[in-house]
C-alpha cells in the first residue's frame, strides 16, 4: 500500500516536472533568433497533390511538422512576382503598396520597372564590388531601390524595433532583384544576382559598398570564370517520380530544347546576359542557398542577435514560364528545392537550436498549364490571345471609324493603354463612343470575360471573394492601365507566342502553399479555412512581437497563438 502511494506520488511529480519543463521550453522559444521566410517563386498549390508524396527532404519536413494552410490565396487579379512579394512583406494590396506589376507603363507611355531608380545613390554594384556608375556613367538608369513601394513592410518594422544590445538584421536574398527589394523594404538589405556580370550584388541605397562577405562568396563560386553548368536530375529519368503526362512535350515551350537533356549548359559571355540559362538551373538555386548560409554565418553571431532572412527561390518561375508546370524542368526543379531547403535547415540547426528558428514557406503566385496543352487535354476554351494582334485590330478599327491613328499605345498584362492626349482632343460624345467601341471589341473576343475602364472599375462594388474585386484592388493612381481585361479560365492575354504565364485571378494562379513551422511553438496542424497571403506579415509581426506593417488591415492567421 505504502509502496503504491509512493510510486503514485513519484509519477505525479514526474508529470508536474514534465509539464513545467514544457512550459519553460515554450517560453524559452518564444522569440526566434532567426526567422526564415522561404518564397518559392511560382510555387502553385496544384503542385502539392501531384508531387507531395515525392518530397523527401525540407518540403516534407515543413508539410509534415508545420502548420499548413491548405486554402491560402493571393488577392490580386494579375498575380506577378512584384505584387506577390509585396503582399508577403507588407500585408497590403497593390492599391496601397503601389507595386501593381513587375513593370507598368507610365504617363509618358514608357515602360517603367518597379525596381529601377534613377537616383545615383541607388547605383547597383558590380559583383566584384565597384558600382556600375563608377565604370559606366551612362548607365545612370542602373540604380535599383524600393522607391516605388508606397508603404512600409515587415522588414521595416523588424528594424524599427531595434533595441540595443540586441542586434537586428534583415537580409532579402533572391536571384532576381525585384523579389529581394520588395521583401527587404526600406530598412532591410536586399541581395540579388547580376545576370550581366555574374554574381550577387546590391545597390548603394542599401550598402555603402558591397559587403566583403558577398564579394568573397562571388569569388569562391567562380562566377567570373565559370563556363558551363550541368543539370543533374534528382533521380534517374525513368524513375516513377517523373511519370507524368506531357513531361517531355516541348511543342509549346519557349525553348525548343530541353535544359535537363543538355550534357552541359553554357554560360556564353558573348551574350548580353550570359547567365540567362544558368539562372534556370538547380545550380543557381543552390548558389542562393549557399549565399543564405554565408549570410547567416557572417551576420548572426551573438545569441542576442536577431535576423529576419527572406529567401526567394526564383528558379522555378524562370523555368516555369519557358517550359510550363507539366515539364520535367519544373518538376525536377521542385525536387531540387525540396533538398536545398533541407540543406539550409540542416546548416541552420547545427548553429541554432531549432526551437529558436521560425520557418515560413509560401509562393508569390501560381502558374497555369500551357493553353495549348489544355486544349489537347480536351479543354476547348483554353486559348492564347496575342496582345499585339488585339492592339493592331483595335487601332485599325478606330482609324477606320474615327480617323484616329494609334489610339492604343501599349499593353501590359492584362490591360491596354490609351493615347489620352489623342482621346482628349475629341469632344465628349466622341470620347465615349471610342471607349465604348474599344470595350465592345475586347468584350467580343473569345476568351475575354470582362473589360472595364479604370474609372468604371474604381466605382464598381464587388464582394471581397469575387475575382473581379482582385482587379479593383490592383488599381493604383497613375500606374494602372486604361482598359483592364479579365480573361476566361485557361485563357492568356499575352505578348508571348509560347510558354505560359500567371495573369489571371483563377485558382491555378492565386492559390499557393503556406506553412509556418517553429519547433515546440507551432505544432503540426492542417487548417482548411480560406486565408489571404497578406495575413502572413501581420501574423509574423505578432509572432515576433513587432508593430504590424502600418497599412495592413488584415487579421492574424487562424490557429496562431503566442
Amino acid at each position: 500500500m505504502q509502496k503504491n502511494r509512493l510510486s503514485s506520488a513519484f509519477i505525479c511529480i514526474l508529470v508536474l516536472c514534465a509539464s513545467l519543463l514544457e512550459k519553460i521550453h515554450a517560453s524559452d522559444c518564444k522569440d526566434p533568433r532567426l526567422t526564415v521566410v522561404i518564397i518559392v517563386d511560382q510555387f502553385a498549390y496544384h503542385y502539392l497533390p501531384k508531387l507531395q508524396n515525392n518530397f523527401r527532404y525540407g518540403l516534407r519536413t515543413l508539410f509534415k511538422e508545420g502548420q499548413v494552410y491548405t486554402q491560402a490565396y493571393h488577392a490580386h487579379g494579375i498575380p506577378e512576382t512584384t505584387p506577390g512579394h509585396h503582399a508577403i512583406s507588407t500585408g497590403t494590396l497593390p492599391k496601397d503598396h503601389g507595386a501593381i506589376l513587375n513593370k507598368w507603363i507610365n504617363k509618358e507611355y514608357k515602360k517603367e520597372c518597379y525596381v529601377t531608380d534613377p537616383d545615383p545613390n541607388a547605383a547597383v554594384f558590380k559583383p566584384q564590388g565597384s558600382s556600375y556608375l563608377d565604370s559606366c556613367p551612362e548607365k545612370a538608369e542602373c540604380g535599383k531601390s524600393c522607391v516605388k513601394t508606397m508603404v512600409d513592410g515587415l522588414s521595416d518594422q523588424f528594424m524599427l524595433a531595434s533595441n540595443p544590445p540586441s542586434n537586428r538584421k534583415v537580409f532579402a536574398l533572391s536571384l532576381k532583384s525585384h523579389p529581394a527589394i520588395a521583401t527587404a523594404n526600406r530598412l532591410g538589405k536586399p541581395i540579388w544576382f547580376d545576370e550581366t556580370f555574374g554574381g550577387f550584388t546590391s545597390s548603394k541605397k542599401y550598402f555603402c559598398s558591397l559587403p566583403e562577405w558577398v564579394i568573397a562568396f562571388n569569388k569562391a563560386q567562380k562566377f567570373s570564370t565559370r563556363s558551363h553548368v550541368v543539370w543533374r536530375t534528382m533521380c534517374r529519368l525513368q524513375d516513377s517520380m517523373y511519370d507524368f503526362p506531357d513531361i517531355k512535350n516541348y511543342d509549346y515551350a519557349g525553348y525548343n530544347f530541353s535544359l535537363v537533356s543538355l550534357p552541359s549548359i553554357a554560360i556564353d559571355r558573348k551574350l548580353s546576359q550570359p547567365f540567362e540559362l544558368y539562372l534556370k538551373t538547380p545550380a543557381a538555386s543552390q548558389a542562393l542557398i549557399d549565399l543564405a548560409k554565408t549570410c547567416i554565418t557572417h551576420n548572426l553571431k551573438k545569441s542576442s542577435d536577431r535576423m529576419l532572412l527572406w529567401v526567394s527561390l526564383s528558379t522555378l518561375d524562370l523555368v516555369g514560364h519557358i517550359y510550363g508546370p507539366d515539364s520535367i524542368e519544373a518538376i525536377d526543379t521542385l525536387y531540387h528545392v525540396d533538398k536545398q531547403i533541407q540543406d539550409l535547415m540542416n546548416f541552420i540547426h547545427k548553429r541554432i537550436d531549432p526551437k529558436h528558428c521560425l520557418y515560413v514557406l509560401t509562393g508569390d503566385h501560381g502558374i497555369p498549364p500551357m493553353p495549348e496543352l489544355m486544349q489537347k487535354r480536351g479543354i476547348p476554351q483554353a486559348r492564347r490571345i496575342m496582345a499585339q494582334t488585339l492592339i493592331n485590330d483595335m487601332n485599325n478599327m478606330i482609324a477606320k471609324s474615327y480617323s484616329l491613328n494609334n489610339i492604343i499605345k501599349g499593353f501590359e498584362p492584362t490591360y491596354f493603354i490609351i493615347n489620352k492626349e489623342l482621346l482628349a482632343q475629341q469632344d465628349c460624345q466622341k470620347q465615349t463612343a471610342i471607349l465604348s467601341a474599344l470595350k465592345k471589341f475586347l468584350q467580343d473576343q473569345p476568351g475575354i470575360k470582362s473589360v472595364w475602364t479604370a474609372a468604371e472599375l474604381r466605382h464598381l462594388t464587388f464582394q471581397p471573394e469575387q475575382p473581379e474585386n482582385h482587379y479593383k484592388t490592383q488599381l493604383y493612381h497613375d500606374r494602372s492601365g486604361d482598359l483592364i481585361c479579365m480573361p476566361e479560365p485557361y485563357c492568356q492575354i499575352t505578348t508571348y507566342p509560347k510558354g505560359t504565364s500567371h495573369l489571371s485571378p483563377y485558382e491555378y494562379d492565386t492559390h499557393v502553399p503556406l506553412v509556418l513551422y517553429q519547433k515546440r511553438r507551432i505544432a503540426h496542424k492542417i487548417i482548411d479555412e480560406k486565408v489571404w497571403i497578406p495575413q502572413l506579415p501581420v501574423t509574423l509581426a505578432y509572432l515576433l512581437h513587432l508593430a504590424r506593417p502600418s497599412a495592413s488591415t488584415y487579421a492574424i492567421l487562424p490557429g496562431v497563438e503566442q
Binding site: 522607391v147 513601394t149 508606397m150 502600418s550 497599412a551
Partner: protein, 560 residues
C-alpha cells in the same frame, strides 16, 4: 456511513460554490471602470510590456485581450475616438468628426462648446457665454442609455472624468456626471448641463490639490536611468520635439521661462502654455492626480450604490498632451507609460477593495494611437516618411487658384486632412470645377495618396476592411471639409513643423489595446480576431443588461 455523509456534504459544498461562481458573473458587476488612455497606441505593448510589472501586466496576463482592435475612422483624434467609445458608432452617425470643424456658414466649431446659459461652466473664473454640453453629438451614448435604464430597484450611476472636456463629454454624453479639468484655474470643473453646482466633494478635492499654486516639479524616472527599460534608439533625441527641454528625470520650475525652448514657430501659444500650470498636465503626476480624483469619486459616491451598477469612465489625457510634443520614441513618453503601469495597478487595487474583485469589471483601451515623428523615422532610414506642412500647402493652393481664376483666398481653412473652401469668395456655380482642379493639384503633392470631394466620398462604396472606408465613416454631410485627403504612411499633413500627431488610417494611429478584466468573468486569453473599438459600449450594455445605445452600429465583442 460517516464517510458517505462527509463526501456528500463536500460534494454539495463544491456544487454550491461552483453554482455561485457561475451565477455571479452573469449578473452585472457592481462597478465597471473603463480606463481610456489618450494616445495609448497598441505598438507600445510589444515594445514596453517586458518592463510592465503592475496594472498593465495584470490586465495583459489575466484579462481578455483583443489584440486586433481598431478605431473605424481615418483621421483619429480625441473627440471622435471618445465619441466612438461612448456611442458605439462612427463619426458619420455621431457627428463628432474631429475635435473641431467648420460649419456650413464658415464658423469654427469646437466639440463641446455651448453658449447656452443652461450649459454655463461652473468654474469660478468662467466668462458669460462659456459653456459645455454634448449638443453636437447626434446620437445617445451608453451613459445616456444607462441613466435612462436606471430604476429605483436597479439604480445605475455614471461618472465620466477626464482632463479634457471633449473626452469626458464624448463618453458621458448628456446624462452622466461629467467632470473635466479647467487648465487656466487648475481645477476640476463641469457645467450646468451636468450639475446645478459643483459637487461638494469636487470642491473639497480642488481645494486640497490646487495645481495653480505649483511652482516647481520633479519628475522621477520609474526605473534607474541606466536600466534596460530605457535602452531604445532616439530616446533622448529632442531635435524634432516641440519642446527642447528634458522633462523626464528632471526638476523644473513651472514659471521659469528659460528652462524650455520651443522648436515650433507655429507653436507660440503652446510655448506660453508650457510654462503655465498646464505643464503639470504633461507629467506622470497629472495621471496620478486624475486617478486620485477617480478614487475620491468612488469613495464619495460608490457607497450610495446598494443593488445597482456604478459605471466610471476615466480618460487619462496626459500621454496625448505629452506625446504630441515629444513623440512616441521619447524618454518622456516611455517613462510616463511605466508610471501609468504602476498608477493603474494601484487604482485597480483600490477599486477591488471598494467593490470586491469579483464585482469589478475593468476595461482598458485608448481613443487613438500615434505615429513616430517623421524626421526621426527618416533618420532611422524610413525614406517614405515626410512632414507635409498644411499652411504652405494652402498658400500654394490659393496662389494657384488666384492665378487660374483670379479668386482670392479660395481655400479658407485647413482642419486635419480637410480643406474648406471660402464660401464668400468661391462662386457656387464654379465650386465643383474648382474642387476638381484642387483635387488634381493635391494629388501631385508628394505624400498625398488620395483626395476626395465630400460628395464623392459620401457616394463611393468601400468595404469595411479598406483604409478608404475609414475616411468614409468619418465623412459628415454638413461638417466635413470640401476636400478630404488621405496621405501615405508616415506622411502627416499637419500645421506643426515639430512634434507628431495621429491623423492617418494606418495601424500606428488606429490600432489600440482593448482588454476586459474581471475575476471570475474574464478568462486570461488573447483574441486575434479583428474588432472595432465601438463594439465596446455595445458589449458593456450587454453586460449591464440594458439596451445598447440607439445608433450603435456594431455587435458585442466576440466571446464576451
Amino acid at each position: 456511513m460517516k464517510k458517505i455523509f462527509f463526501i456528500a456534504l463536500l460534494l454539495a459544498c463544491i456544487t454550491t460554490a461552483q453554482a455561485r461562481a457561475i451565477k455571479k458573473p452573469c449578473s452585472p458587476p457592481k462597478l465597471i471602470v473603463v480606463i481610456v488612455i489618450d494616445q495609448f497606441a497598441y505598438h507600445y505593448l510589444p515594445k514596453l510590456s517586458p518592463y510592465f510589472s503592475d496594472g498593465f501586466k495584470l490586465l495583459l496576463d489575466k484579462g481578455t485581450s483583443y489584440q486586433n482592435a481598431h478605431h473605424p475612422h481615418g483621421a483619429p483624434s480625441t473627440a471622435p475616438g471618445h465619441a466612438g467609445i461612448g456611442t458605439g458608432t462612427i463619426p458619420y452617425d455621431h457627428g463628432i468628426i474631429l475635435n473641431g470643424w467648420i460649419d456650413e456658414h464658415g464658423n469654427k466649431i469646437t466639440f463641446g462648446d455651448d453658449a447656452n446659459p443652461k450649459a454655463a461652466l461652473l468654474s469660478k473664473n468662467a466668462e458669460p457665454g462659456e459653456g459645455k454640453s454634448a449638443r453636437h453629438m447626434q446620437v445617445e451614448t451608453l451613459s445616456d442609455r444607462a441613466v435612462l435604464a436606471s430604476t429605483p430597484s436597479q439604480p445605475i450611476t455614471v461618472y465620466s472624468l477626464s482632463y479634457k472636456a471633449r473626452a469626458a463629454i464624448g463618453m458621458g454624453g448628456s446624462k452622466a456626471h461629467t467632470i473635466w479639468f479647467d487648465a487656466p484655474s487648475g481645477q476640476f470643473t463641469s457645467s450646468k448641463t451636468y450639475f446645478e453646482k459643483l459637487p461638494r466633494w469636487v470642491e473639497q478635492f480642488n481645494k486640497k490639490h490646487d495645481v495653480s499654486k505649483l511652482k516647481c516639479m520633479t519628475w522621477n524616472l520609474r526605473f534607474d536611468a541606466d536600466c534596460q527599460a530605457y535602452n531604445f534608439p532616439f530616446i533622448n533625441n529632442r531635435d524634432y520635439a516641440t519642446y527642447s527641454c528634458k522633462l523626464a528625470g528632471n526638476t523644473f520650475e513651472i514659471n521659469h521661462q528659460a528652462t524650455c525652448q520651443t522648436h515650433d514657430s507655429d507653436d507660440a501659444d503652446d510655448f506660453a502654455e508650457v510654462h503655465g500650470p498646464s505643464l503639470f498636465l504633461k507629467t506622470p503626476a497629472a495621471n496620478k492626480l486624475l486617478l486620485d480624483f477617480a478614487q475620491e469619486c468612488l469613495a464619495k459616491n460608490f457607497c450610495r450604490i446598494d443593488n445597482g451598477t456604478f459605471l466610471l469612465w476615466v480618460s487619462l489625457s496626459s500621454l496625448d498632451m505629452l506625446g504630441h510634443k515629444y513623440g512616441p520614441d521619447s524618454l518622456e513618453i516611455i517613462d510616463m507609460i511605466y508610471h501609468l503601469d504602476k498608477q493603474v495597478g494601484s487604482f485597480i487595487k483600490y477599486c477591488k477593495k471598494t467593490a470586491g474583485g469579483r464585482d469589478t469589471l475593468f476595461v482598458l483601451t485608448a481613443d487613438h494611437g500615434v505615429d513616430a515623428i517623421p524626421e526621426i523615422l527618416q533618420k532611422k532610414g524610413m525614406s517614405l516618411a515626410r512632414r507635409i506642412l498644411a499652411k504652405p500647402l494652402m498658400k500654394r493652393m490659393n496662389a494657384y487658384l488666384h492665378k487660374k481664376y483670379g479668386i482670392e483666398k479660395a481655400v479658407a481653412y485647413f482642419k486635419v486632412n480637410q480643406f474648406y473652401l471660402n464660401t464668400k469668395t468661391v462662386p457656387a456655380d464654379r465650386k465643383q470645377e474648382i474642387l476638381q482642379v484642387l483635387k488634381k493639384y493635391l494629388l501631385n503633392q508628394p505624400g498625398i495618396k488620395k483626395v476626395w470631394t465630400r460628395d464623392e466620398l459620401l457616394s463611393t462604396y468601400y468595404r469595411p476592411d479598406e483604409l478608404e472606408c475609414l475616411f468614409k465613416n468619418q465623412c459628415h454631410p454638413s461638417r466635413s471639409g470640401d476636400l478630404i485627403c488621405m496621405v501615405q504612411p508616415f506622411s502627416p499633413l499637419t500645421k506643426h513643423d515639430t512634434g507628431t500627431a495621429h491623423r492617418t488610417p494606418y495601424n500606428h494611429d488606429t490600432h489600440v489595446p482593448l482588454i476586459f478584466y474581471q475575476e471570475g468573468r474574464c478568462k486570461p486569453r488573447k483574441i486575434n480576431q479583428k474588432v472595432w473599438v465601438p463594439q465596446l459600449p455595445v458589449t458593456l450594455a450587454k453586460i449591464m443588461g440594458i439596451p445598447k445605445p440607439a445608433a450603435a452600429r456594431y455587435g458585442p465583442l466576440p466571446c464576451e
